[in-house]
């Protein structure tokens, strides 16, 4: 086994020799005795896997349960919806307002109120 083949073994099966099948394990162990590069690669892979095993941060699930339980009666809220500054509904309202300004669209009161409400509330469609 050479360094390149050893790298393939690491990438395929990870850095724990227990997962390496024979006879590749014996070949790898022979290479590790003589190759500094192989040793460095093994050390790096084991560092990756050790860090990936780091415990996840604590997570409060109580809010999740409370909020999700309200969802059968309420429409879906999009992920990151609060971050979106412009929606199609808002663009529609802007277009309507522009039409009013140039006198091309004689608006009714209910049309204006409806478009503004739509813009404020966002789309009512279920995007999921």
């Amino acid at each position: 086994m050479n360094d390149e083949e050893f790298h393939s073994l690491l990438d395929e099966l990870g850095g724990d020799p227990i997962r390496w099948p024979e006879p590749r394990r014996q070949e790898a162990q022979a290479l590790l005795v003589q190759s500094a590069q192989a040793c460095a690669s093994l050390k790096a892979m084991q560092a990756v896997e050790s860090l990936l095993a780091h415990p996840a941060p604590a997570f409060d699930t109580s809010r999740i349960a409370a909020r999700a339980a309200q969802a059968r009666q309420a429409p879906h809220r999009r992920i990151g919806a609060a971050a979106r500054k412009v929606s199609f509904a808002a663009l529609g309202a802007l277009a309507l307002a522009a039409g009013i300004l140039v006198g091309m669209t004689p608006p009714s009161d209910t049309a204006i109120i409806g478009s503004v409400q739509t813009a404020l509330n966002g789309s009512t469609g279920d995007v999921w």
């Binding site: 990438d11 790096a44 892979m45 095993a53 996840a56 699930t61 349960a65 969802a71 992920i79």
Partner: protein, 182 residues
């Protein structure tokens, strides 16, 4: 009320909020770890987990009708969370990768703790450069402890494709950490 996923999902289908809270308590932390690993941002990860559980709650009555219950519930949650997280990462707006402080490990000294923290930060940076599906493959394997076949199912792909994602991800992370060690 039984305490298996099967029993709890049946209760959730009937609108039992306590059973739902029990399922959230049981699966929430692992889904949070999964989403966090893929999106690298706690607030967005929480939204994703929220959305996954919201779908579970909304769709629970349908599971009862279709006979799709607790046996597959954990896998379903993993699949939904993974897909939501990948979709989120693929959006053009960049998410800030958090460098949240880790809880101190009482078994190591202060100097070793600093080195470990620096390595973790480097790993996070390397993870952030991976394509979303490679990140998901890493998360499903190392955070969720899934086999390649289970991971492939969660990602909606073949076992061979999943293994290829893992190989590429491991290679990229190994090289990143090797370069940092050099």
């Amino acid at each position: 009320m039984g305490d298996t996923d099967d029993a709890l999902v049946l209760e959730v289908a009937r609108g039992d909020r306590l059973a739902f809270a029990r399922l959230v308590e049981r699966h929430g932390a692992r889904l949070m770890a999964l989403a966090m690993r893929i999106v690298g941002n706690r607030a967005v990860a929480e939204e994703i987990v929220q959305e996954a559980f919201t779908r579970a709650w909304v769709q629970a009555p349908n599971w009862q009708q279709k006979g799709e219950m607790g046996r597959a519930f954990a896998a379903w949650l993993s699949r939904v969370t993974t897909n939501l997280a990948i979709d989120q990462v693929r959006k053009p707006r960049a998410l800030p990768i958090e460098d949240a402080p880790e809880p101190p490990d009482p078994d190591i000294g202060a100097e070793d703790a600093v080195i470990a923290s620096q390595k973790l930060a480097r790993l996070r940076a390397a993870l952030a450069t991976l394509p979303p599906r490679q990140r998901a493959a890493i998360a499903l394997t190392y955070d969720q402890g899934l086999s390649n076949s289970e991971g492939a199912a969660a990602l909606g792909t073949s076992v061979g494709a999943f293994e290829l994602l893992l190989v590429r991800a491991r290679r990229a992370l190994r090289i990143a950490m090797t370069e940092d060690e050099a």
